[in-house]
Amino acid sequence: METRIQILAVTASGLLLLIVLELVRRRRLLERYALLWLLSAWVLLALAIWQGLLSDLARVIGIIYPPNALFLIAFGFVLVLLLHFSVAVSRLTDQTKVLAQRIAILEERQRRGVAEDPAERDREDAVEFVASSPRSR
């Protein structure tokens, strides 16, 4: 592989690795979502440095120019990452829906409970009393 391309590949994947690690360190990125990023960065870095492995891999797949194999693998990782995020977004959507429903039902119960249920109202009063006692002192 030509030196210039190798330098570019090593720099880019090294940078990616560092950025991901830094984001995790600052708690801007959860470990759960960082794992796939770290895996891809490590693999790309290893392939960029270890030329023999990359050219062997390229020959097995049938790619004449080894750096193209690197791009292909990077593309594969991007696809997997995107799918991973779509799954994550779907799960969040579902969780958000359930939360919204719970809030709506709890709010309704609260409105009704205060108005109708005497036992509930007494408890509400008690809570209010406890909460307000420090101020009255």
């Binding site: 959507t93 829906k97 919204a100 429903q101 809030i103 709506a104 039902i105 709010e107 309704e108 009704r112």
Partner: protein, 234 residues
């Protein structure tokens, strides 16, 4: 909408009316409360599936035996609830009774041809899948019993849920029936399905039907009846 709530109070006085305000900005909740309905106010717009499911969860948790799903835009007529209730009372094994616009001879429900084509396509597919005639799969005028409520409180499709709900019901081995009703064209409020969205609607519902068929066997939940049970007296 206050009118719809009042007509429900008149025609089905033994039902509590619960209005679901799906994050609207037009004061739906206040109008409904003023008309004497209970309200569930969604903190933001969930889409019809999530909003309707909130109603099922509410009914399940508050121990209601039946849920009637009824559009607030004036499309459904409170007069027509009686046949739904009669059908449910006739056959206690029914878990859902659905009001259909297309069963009565003189229906002539005025819908744009594109919408009707879609409805008939879904009707054809659902009839094949469930092995019974389903004439109006997009109707949201439905009466559910406790089992129907429990199923949909646990799992209800996200958007455009009516068609998919029929598939779910079938594969959970719950039973449904349609009864003929008349419906008005929408009084006020736009349909949730604009013309631009109708293609998305078609594709989404078709996908949902096929996924629903692929899902087929419901996952047993803790406390459910076992999918395979030994006969008591072998």
């Amino acid at each position: 909408m206050g009118e719809v709530v009042r007509s429900l109070h008149t025609h089905v006085p033994d039902f509590d009316v619960l209005v679901i305000d799906d994050g609207s900005t037009d004061g739906t909740k206040d109008v409904a409360t003023a008309a004497g309905a209970k309200t569930l106010r969604m903190p933001f717009n969930l889409g019809i599936g999530g909003a309707v499911q909130a109603g099922f969860v509410y009914a399940l948790e508050n121990g209601y035996d039946y849920v009637l799903q009824f559009d607030a835009d004036g499309q459904h007529i409170a007069n027509e609830i009686a046949p739904l209730r009669a059908a449910m009372a006739d056959d206690p094994s029914l878990d859902m009774v659905c009001g259909s616009r297309f069963l009565s001879a003189e229906h002539g429900y005025p819908a744009p041809i594109s919408r009707r084509t879609g409805i008939h396509l879904f009707a054809f597919l659902l009839s094949r899948i469930t092995g019974q005639r389903v004439s109006d799969p997009t109707s949201g005028f439905r009466l559910y019993n406790r089992r129907g409520i429990a199923l949909f409180a646990r799992d209800y499709p996200h958007d455009y849920p009516e068609v998919e709900a029929v598939v779910m019901l079938h594969f959970h081995r719950l039973r449904m029936r349609e009864v003929p009703v008349t419906m008005r064209t929408r009084g006020n409020g736009r349909s949730s399905i604009g013309s631009g969205k109708s293609i998305y609607y078609m594709v989404k519902v078709l996908l949902a039907i096929f996924i629903g068929v692929a899902r087929r066997r419901p996952t047993p939940e803790p406390g459910d009846e076992a999918p395979v049970a030994a006969a008591p007296n072998l």
